[in-house]
């Protein structure tokens, strides 16, 4: 049951991510991106991380994607966005390498079992403490420093958006 769900979510996520790139209409791309985010949320649920799954849907599929769609509609990238380059040589080489890489990864994942250490947060442990609490207790203790770094990272991103988008002075 879990495996089938995983395969379904995974396959749909990859397929829709692929459609994000190939579809010509930016709005369609954005909608496929929402589908990818939903599938990812499904994968989080399978990992017993309901809290992150909810965040994924609220923040990404909800807030960020709405912004995306708005921006795409406001910009109205009509004709110019559709002009594509052919690049047949690069494309064919790229496809060959991608297929080889996927074959390699696929054969390896079928071959080996999971090695390595198991973490303290097994499904039972999480059920015992509660999803949100487990998340918070890791985020604000062990990962306190990365958490703070991300705030600086976002600040730098905001500054950049303002600098690059500001009207000419």
């Amino acid at each position: 049951m879990e495996l089938t769900l995983f395969v379904i979510f995974g396959a749909v996520a990859v397929a829709s991510a692929f459609m994000v790139i190939v579809s010509r209409n930016p709005v369609v791309s954005a909608l496929f991106l929402i589908l990818t985010f939903f599938c990812l949320a499904g994968l989080y649920v399978l990992l017993n991380a309901q809290f992150i799954a909810a965040l994924q849907i609220i923040v990404y599929a909800g807030a960020i994607m709405v912004l995306f769609v708005f921006v795409v509609m406001l910009l109205r990238t009509g004709k110019e966005a559709r002009r594509g380059y052919r690049l047949i040589f690069q494309k064919s080489i790229g496809i060959i390498f991608v297929v080889l890489f996927l074959l390699l990864l696929g054969s390896i994942t079928l071959m080996v079992s999971v090695t390595g250490m198991r973490g303290p947060y097994t499904a039972e442990a999480v059920r015992h403490i509660g999803n949100t609490q487990a998340f918070a207790s890791v985020l604000f203790t062990d990962y306190l420093y990365p958490f703070e770094i991300i705030s600086v990272l976002l600040l730098a991103g905001i500054i950049g958006a303002v600098v690059l988008a500001k009207r000419k002075r």
Partner: protein, 487 residues
């Protein structure tokens, strides 16, 4: 459920805190400054950089983990901090008049520069793959923006977009690599990964090897190793020159800091595997960088290919993987920062508004009209080529001898041949400077601003000092790795 808060010792990250605070301070004070007085922000940023340097000095000698083993405060990270902060200080000095000339003197410039440096400091002390990843992103995101800072310049726009798209692509590789390493070992802490790898069931997992390869691709992109170097010439050419200087030194050093930590601390047991990858990459990087540099006519593109070649030389130290190898990487990075930033300072001086005057022919006759600047440029070029009285020679000597000592004789020979090849294009600039008449008769005089002159002086004195008396800095580099490789 009460969460017990961990003990947090802020002294351990005091250099990072100082830089972060000054980055925000620059942003706030920027609001109250008129356009022509933005130069004050450079002074403020310099104070922040010096403060962070002082804080790193105060920490020198410590060797411990902090923030639940997320970071390690040891001499290696502090030595790297020194390199980053030295580079940033020189870049700030070079920037003041340059960004005024190009009409991009905005306060955000300095604050993005400081945030990017903050990312480098975070990488150098990273003890955990997540920290390394976030640090690398914090280095890159401000740089994507800074590359496109000259908004009216089409080449600058192209550079920013190209760097962003390819950088994000490389980041995806890095992230996938981290995921695979985590999946096959079960930990993201570097020392813990090393400990888990003593189990053969873990260390023979093919997923781990794919993860390792992807980590090398991710970091290799940032330091511009050869199959992943395609972005370098275009981005270096299009970005504002001061930003190019910053990228060529800072990002390279940060990438090597990350590579050192990951390969020598965490994946030390897989050395047999990654050494063979790095040998191939080193040969390709040195050769391709130098050969393509031969035919460049734009000085920024030439320096871009030269920086690729230097990444190849640096890989030799990593391939050796010994104490001598790592300490010579550190020494090389100090020397490289001085000589490369010095060369870029001259490029800024010779350049004109709108990034004009970057063709090699624009250097014709400069050696006579500006003898001191010509002499400085010659010293930097000699040093980049690795000719004896300069620091570049000592740096190359140590890195090649480290490779020879570990038995990579052929690799060292290829390296020496490559630096002989590089002599051609470095000397060509000097030939043009001293032996060719300028084509255009009316040339605007070069304006020497105090910041640029100070930066040039520091770089010249540094290159000569390290070339003649390298022992003090070499000793520092050796003591920097004392705790790194033993534990």
């Amino acid at each position: 459920m009460p969460i017990p808060l961990p003990t947090v010792n802020l002294i351990d990250i005091s250099p990072e805190i100082i830089l972060g605070v000054f980055g925000v301070l620059v942003l706030l004070i920027d609001l109250f400054l008129r356009r022509e007085r933005k130069g004050h922000l450079a002074v403020l940023s310099l104070i922040g950089v010096v403060g962070a340097f002082y804080a790193s000095l105060r920490l020198w000698g410590s060797s411990h983990y902090a923030f639940s083993q997320s970071i390690v405060v040891d001499n290696l990270s502090l030595f790297f901090n020194g390199i980053f902060l030295l580079g940033t200080a020189l870049v700030i000095l070079m920037s003041v008049s340059y960004i005024r000339r190009e009409g991009i003197n905005l306060g955000e410039y300095y604050s993005l520069l400081l945030f990017s440096t903050l990312g480098m400091l975070i990488i150098s002390s990273g003890n955990d793959l997540i920290i390394l990843f976030l640090g690398l992103e914090l280095v890159s995101i401000p740089l994507y923006i800074l590359s496109g800072f000259a908004r009216t310049n089409l080449k600058s726009n192209e550079a920013a977009l190209k760097y962003l798209l390819l950088g994000v692509f490389a980041t995806a590789f890095l992230l996938y690599g981290i995921a695979l390493v985590y999946g096959s070992t079960g930990s993201i802490k570097l020392p813990m990964i090393a400990k888990l790898l003593s189990d053969t069931a873990v260390s023979s997992n093919p997923l781990l090897f794919i993860g390792m390869g992807m980590l090398i691709i991710g970091f290799g992109f940032k330091v511009a190793l050869v199959p992943f170097h395609m972005w370098t010439p275009d981005v270096y050419e299009g970005a504002p020159t001061s930003v190019t200087a910053f990228m060529s030194v800072g990002v390279k050093a940060a990438g090597f800091a990350a590579l050192l930590r990951v390969l020598l601390t965490a994946l030390d047991k897989l050395q047999f595997s990654w050494v063979s990858i790095l040998v191939v990459l080193a040969i390709l990087t040195m050769t391709v960088g130098n050969v393509i540099a031969l035919v460049q006519t734009n000085i920024k593109r030439l320096l871009a290919y030269s920086s690729i070649a230097h990444a190849g030389y640096l890989l030799l130290g990593l391939v050796a993987g010994s104490r001598l190898g790592v300490s010579s990487i550190l020494f090389y990075l100090v020397v490289y920062a001085l000589m490369n930033l010095g060369a870029f300072a001259v490029v800024i001086l010779v350049g004109r508004k709108g990034d004009q005057n970057l063709h090699l022919n624009d250097y014709a006759g400069l050696g006579y009209r500006y003898p001191l600047m010509g002499a400085a440029m010659s010293i930097f070029l000699f040093s980049l080529a690795g000719i004896p009285p300069t620091a570049g020679f000592v740096a190359k000597f140590y890195i090649f001898s480290a490779a020879v000592k570990e038995g990579f004789v052929k690799l060292a020979i290829i390296g020496v041949l490559n630096s002989a090849l590089s002599l051609f294009y470095y000397l060509r600039i000097m030939v043009i400077m001293y032996m060719r008449e300028p084509e255009k008769k009316e040339v605007l005089p070069i304006l020497f601003s105090p910041g640029l002159v100070i930066a040039l002086l520091i770089a010249v004195l540094g290159v000569l000092y390290l070339g003649i008396l390298p022992s003090r800095v070499l000793d520092l580099a050796t003591s920097a790795i004392r705790t790194f490789l033993s534990g």
